[in-house]
Amino acid sequence: MAITYLLQSFGAVLSPMNLAVLLISTFTGLVMGMLPGLSATMAVALLTGLTYSLSPTSAIISLIGVYVGAISGGCQAAILLNIPGTPASAATALDGFPLAKQGKGGLAVFLATTASCIGTLISVICVLAFTPLLTKLSLQFGSWEFFLLSLFGVVICGNLTSKGNAVKGWISGIIGLLVAQVGLDQVDAFPRFAFGNVNVMAGLALIPIMIGLFGFPEIIKAFKKTEEHVLKISKFKVSEGFTYIRQNTVALIRSSLIGVCVGIIPGVGEDVGGWLSYWATKSSSKDPEKFGTGEMSGVISAEAGNNSCIGGAIIPILSLAVPGSAPAAVLLAAFMMHGYRPGPLLMNESPEFLYMVCVDLFMAAVAMWMIAQLVAKFSVKILGVKKEILMPIIYVLCIVGSYVINHLMFDVKVMFFFGIVGFFLSMMEFPAAPFLLGVILGSMTDSNLRRALTISEGSFMPMFQRPICLVFLVAILALILSQFGVFEKLKRKKV
């Protein structure tokens, strides 16, 4: 039965009309992912509207295509400009941009896109094989687990990005968490830090903050009159690229699996997936200090991690009708609009749907890889363009990107404000990435902690009794202590 469905779906995708749809939508996704300010969520949302009139099969193909394209596309801007195209690629920029500065931008993009493709493919396998099992896992996550997960994310990010002095990373992360608290709170709708401004009460949107935080430092730095010559992008051999990929197979697979697991958890998506995978590879590497200076495996892990979240995020959609991440949520709505009933009845009502989605994912990953190689030839040239020409254009795109989300000039002002903040952060050498992650995870931290306390009547005991929580607690403690050299001291004692 399964084979029939799979063959049917392949047949459907390979029809000329659908192939065209696939290629166009994947390309659109790539472009939108590349442009800082247009996120994957937006890309999927925009296309949901545009493709409504297509047949359900074609529409789903286009949506999955744009989803995969967008998550993958972000890596290009992250690597070449140090401005992540989507929050999911923030981890890629860490090692990607240094690589670009060394002239290896083309290679880095190639690695990133290949890793993205493979990550997506691995997640497809997981969707096919493990959907029921993984669904059970996602249900184990209750409010305590979400709270600790968000703390864990911020702590990791702080450790990863601050080149030794994690305190700065944590400060950055905590300020990010605080920024997320601004506005009407999720539990009681109590206005916090709003100072009476109605726009602020609605909360500060993530994308403008991201654009400002990462974009401004780059743009402002470009104003300096420097004699810096434009970097030459050295050509690279595709075979060389594949060698790197093969060398990092373990990291690839591990990152993909991590990404799938992160994707399954409702509410945590591609951005966290990229970070966790990056961290896992760095921790198990023989020379962790090289990370952040242009380490290939860092780029590979981050991109595989964030792409495999796509498959992971789709799993709870199919079995529970609960989205695993923000763009997945839009996808869910689109599925329902086209008459499918994701949820426990899916396998009874439309069993072919699962296979169709998997095939679409597979094809989208392949299409994305091919198109990305073509696009990369052009995008890499962007680094060759003089900063003076590039930056004003990028700034305009930043403005457009911030505006397009809610059609509010307020968001543009938010972007500007956080741009200044980002500038100071970079001047004082505070990493911006934990800040961003804090903003993403802030409301999750807040509402889950308070919800958990509501249920437990103020007691923190459940946190110490639930297995997943204990794992998180130990991990967080270990991460914090490792920064203060506790482990080195212990090792020295033993020796």
Partner: protein, 160 residues
């Protein structure tokens, strides 16, 4: 560059400390206003975070005064500040920033998008000495048109 780092930490820890005090004060006000039991109050998480921030800023501060103490840092700061003020680069960055601000807050409010954008890109590129005037003109016009086309026509999203 260790000295530069210490100075950065010194300055930033003071700023962060101030921010954390602000947070704690505001959160306390929220707690009073919300009137709920503390651990359920909207102020709970901000207070926790503010307190953490306070502690971390102190840690950072202590780390930054390790060699030379406060007096050494203040002297360094004055030196750096003098150098910065005289530096041509700082002036350029500031001007560029002001141009961006004018574009964002003034131009976009009073002029239609394509016009404001055109002006901004043109003037900024000129200021940065991006090339000959004709070159700038062409690039600006093309990019402006491209952006408007892409977003308003292809993606059908309204522009500012």
């Amino acid at each position: 560059m260790e000295a530069k780092k210490k100075l950065q930490d010194f300055l930033s820890s003071i700023v962060v400390f101030a921010v954390s005090i602000f947070i704690l004060v505001e959160s306390y006000k929220i707690y009073l206003k919300a009137g709920k039991v503390f651990y359920l109050s909207a102020a709970f998480v901000p207070v926790l975070l503010g307190a953490l921030l306070l502690v971390l800023s102190v840690v950072l501060f202590l780390g930054s005064i390790k060699e030379g103490g406060v007096s050494a840092r203040t002297t360094e700061f004055q030196e750096v500040w003098q150098a910065m003020v005289k530096d041509n680069n700082s002036l350029r960055m500031l001007t560029g920033l002001i141009m961006m601000a004018i574009y964002t807050f003034v131009l976009l409010e009073i002029l239609p998008f394509w016009l404001a954008t055109f002006l901004f890109m043109f003037l900024l590129m000129f200021f940065l000495d991006a090339g000959s005037i004709t070159k700038i003109l062409i690039i600006t016009a093309v990019m402006d048109g491209l952006i408007v086309f892409l977003f308003q026509v292809c993606f059908r999203v309204p522009l500012p």
